[in-house]
Amino acid sequence: MPEQNQNSETVNLTAADVGTVDLTPKSHPMRKMGNKDVFCAKCQAVRSMHVGLDKNNEILTVCPDCNHFYKFPLVEDPAELDKMLLDHHESNKGQITVEMAEAAQKEYDDKFKKLMGIA
């Protein structure tokens, strides 16, 4: 029989090498947003809207008046959302829908016809 050597090495783990892992679920700060004032591009007015996360963890808010929704990417800091909402407001204020333009044109035409006595 050939001679067999058996070797072994040991590693000493001291207390300083052992860390703790916190497995407590953390709630994302954006889950605690509640309601915020959001400009609705469709209503052209600021509405109090519930702000929450959808199944893709994107920020979702819905206008309670017209049901139009707005999505924003998830951010860590609520101040970043405030900045996006401000940009959203600035970008969309003053939109004139086709319906509003047609109503304004009809009102103008009606006034013109009345002035001309052809109403």
Binding site: N56, P73, D87, N92, Q95, I96, T97
Partner: protein, 196 residues
């Protein structure tokens, strides 16, 4: 290209040639642009793939998700002196429930042009314009023009360089779970400009 003769002024008016083009793929270069550039686009189908060729029926958007962004832009060539007064908007046909169209912010100078990023299905916070409702083109977002490409610096509200390009006219269709299955309505997006 059309040729018009105006006998009253004994002059000739030549028209610019226009086409939409589209960038796709990873952001490349500086300033960044798409890896692939496709000319002569006649539609923009929002879908669950970043290209300009695959049928939208092959890569539908699952309700609750977003499309990849569409990075389209205008390209002017032919004969013109100046292109100016650019506006971009959704001008006809309403979207159904559970659909929101987001689009490029107004471009009023070189600093405000939208910079290309690799298309993805994440809601793009840079697309701050809500284009869901059909609006009067007069209240559309401002568009700038420049040489070389939509990505290039030097964009301005009027341009004499030929050829010239708009800034990126990027859009993304976003949905919630309440979006109906099947095709969305076919909507019209308008780029209005003056030329002389």
């Amino acid at each position: 290209m059309k040729l018009f003769e105006n006998p009253m002024y004994y002059g000739r008016c030549l028209a610019a040639t226009f086409e939409f083009e589209e960038d796709n793929g990873a952001a490349a270069g500086s300033p960044a642009k798409g890896t692939t550039r496709t000319a002569a686009r006649t539609e923009a189908n929002w879908k669950n793939i970043d290209d300009s060729t695959t049928a939208y029926t092959s890569n539908p958007i699952t309700a609750g998700n977003n499309s990849f962004e569409k990075w389209q832009f205008g390209h002017f060539s032919g004969t013109f002196n100046q292109i100016l007064n650019g506006l971009f908007a959704h001008t006809a046909t309403a979207f159904g429930t559970g659909l929101t169209l987001k689009g490029t912010p107004a471009c009023t100078n070189d600093a405000s042009r939208l910079l290309y990023t690799t298309p993805s299905t994440t809601a793009n916070s840079n697309l701050s314009t809500d284009m869901t409702s059909a609006i009067s083109i007069g209240s559309g977002v401002g568009v700038c023009f420049g040489a070389t490409g939509p990505e290039a610096t030097g964009k301005a509200t009027s341009m004499t360089t030929n050829p010239c390009y708009t800034n990126y006219l990027t859009t993304q269709l976003q949905t919630t779970g309440s979006a109906a299955a099947g095709d969305t309505a076919q909507v019209t997006l308008t780029l209005q400009y003056d030329e002389n």
